[in-house]
């Protein structure tokens, strides 16, 4: 059973529907017991880092997520969930979970594309990835796949070996992070068509060594 962490951060039902579509059973929960019992967890999220961390702490879920991670169970971060696993976020100057070493930065103002067009923030829409480190989660996915992004901040891991894929949007940022038994995507797997579903299914089947 897969637990989708419920901490009042956006529409989690779409993640649950996508998981069930690829053939796995998921529950949306903030019950500590169920989360500890789950085989793997998904940590999604939409919204601001500050209020998300507040909710996690209020529900006592920050410690549970760390605990599940330390026990080696597969963890998937999505969008805000990916930022929350980092050290510190520039958004609301928030101390996050510090699972992955590095901070969360805002896209710099005034970024421009290769052909010098002003880029809009948040980065919203379909964009590609460049896989820089192989991982089972990429099985069936390549550099021609695109994913759906909605974010104004991005994770910036200190150890470059934690970066599995990057995306260009005025700057080059880490769009997929892999560290031990955690995989985290800045884009929304559940809204990225078949490319996203493929990665989601890969996560559901992934057994970290």
């Amino acid at each position: 059973m897969i637990a989708i962490i419920d901490y009042d951060a956006g529409n989690l039902a779409s993640v649950a529907r996508a998981v069930s579509y690829v053939g796995f059973k998921a529950i949306i929960t903030n019950d500590k017991f169920l989360i500890k019992k789950a085989d793997r967890i998904i940590f999604p999220g939409v919204g601001a880092a500050g209020s998300a961390m507040d909710s996690l702490k209020r529900l006592g879920l920050d410690k549970i997520i760390l605990d599940v991670f330390k026990r080696g169970k597969p963890v998937l971060g999505i969008c805000l969930g990916t930022q929350i696993i980092m050290g510190k976020s520039e958004e609301n100057d928030t101390q996050c979970l510090k699972i992955v070493n590095g901070n969360v930065q805002a896209f710099p103002a005034g970024i421009r594309s290769e052909n010098n067009c002003r880029l809009k923030i948040p980065h919203m829409g379909w964009n590609g990835i460049k896989i820089i480190k192989n991982h089972p989660v990429f099985s069936g996915v390549g550099n021609d796949d695109e994913f759906y992004f909605v974010h104004g901040f991005y994770p910036d891991p200190v150890n470059k070996e934690d970066i599995l894929a990057t995306t260009d949007y005025g700057i080059t940022f880490a769009s997929v992070i892999g560290f031990k038994n955690i995989i985290a995507t800045q884009f929304h797997l559940e809204k990225s068509g078949k490319s996203g579903l493929t990665m989601l299914k890969n996560f559901c089947e992934w057994e970290p060594c």
């Binding site: 039902a13 779409s14 529907r17 594309s113 809009k120 919203m124 379909w126 990225s192 068509g193």
Partner: protein, 259 residues
């Protein structure tokens, strides 16, 4: 680099897709859930549902459609039409839509934009604008006026001023519909689209007038739009979404090519 989005638009009345010209003569063209699935499979980047159900009592039918759609397609989709309150927004989002669009309700009460953005985030809130060219005049400096109720009521509001105001209120995106071009299949209103797109920082979806792939390449380049809405040209099978995307790719417009 971001891809330009191609977005089929489905007008839904009492649970069935309809298509009319200039908001009149609606004819039944199919089940919105089947059509959404079809366009998803064909490579649509997003889907827009516009609920044109007249009677308020039958609005729950749309929520049911949204729920069924959310179970089988895994790309963002938005729902507009008849959204008047934050609660209306909530029920659509909870049913599985990624975004909601407000149009007439926002003209009557602009606060609905800020309230929606506060409750769900700007990325959820699309401002739908129906616009008619009326000529430049003192009260309408851009020459483009906001109309509501399907183009029947002139509001006296300048389209450009309204777009900027909506952005300040927290709209995350603008869906810009030219009533003059809508249903003509003769091309998007490029002047209107570039005027708005160049003066706001949020993405603009061009709507109204698409008849052939060239119209999309025009609006996504000269028109400066971030996305293009299409309806008749795909609903009647004249073109497929994948054909349109191949053409755009050939023209050098960046589109998502694998799905």
């Amino acid at each position: 680099m971001l891809s330009k989005r191609i977005i089929p638009c489905l007008d839904v009345r009492e649970g069935r897709t309809t298509k009319g010209i200039k908001f009149k003569d609606n004819v039944d063209i199919g089940d919105p859930v089947d059509m959404a699935r079809f366009y998803y499979e064909e490579g649509a980047d997003e889907i827009v549902f516009y609920d044109i159900t007249a009677s308020h009592e039958k609005r729950n039918i749309m929520i049911e459609v949204v729920r069924r759609v959310a179970e089988i397609i895994f790309i963002p989709f938005s729902v507009g039409g008849g959204i008047r309150t934050v609660n209306d927004m909530r029920s659509v989002l909870l049913a599985g839509a990624e975004k909601v669009s407000v149009n007439s309700a926002a003209v009557k009460d602009p606060e609905i934009i800020s309230k929606g953005a506060e409750a769900f985030g700007s990325q959820c809130i699309v401002l739908g604008m129906d616009v008619k060219y009326v000529g430049k005049k003192y009260s309408i400096p851009s020459g483009y006026e906001i109309v509501i109720n399907g183009g029947r009521i002139y509001t006296g509001i300048d389209a450009l001023k309204w777009a900027i105001r909506a952005q300040e209120l927290g709209a995350g995106e603008i869906c810009l519909n030219s009533i003059d071009a809508d249903g003509t299949q003769k091309g998007y209103e490029l002047n209107l689209t570039s005027l708005i797109a160049e003066n706001v920082l949020i993405p603009v979806i061009a709507s109204g007038g698409a008849g052939k792939p060239k119209h999309l390449s025009d609006v996504l380049t000269k028109g400066k739009a971030d996305a293009a809405l299409i309806a008749s040209m795909v609903h009647y099978g004249t073109y497929s979404v994948s054909e349109i995307k191949s053409f755009l790719d050939y023209c050098g417009v960046k589109v998502r090519k694998k799905w």
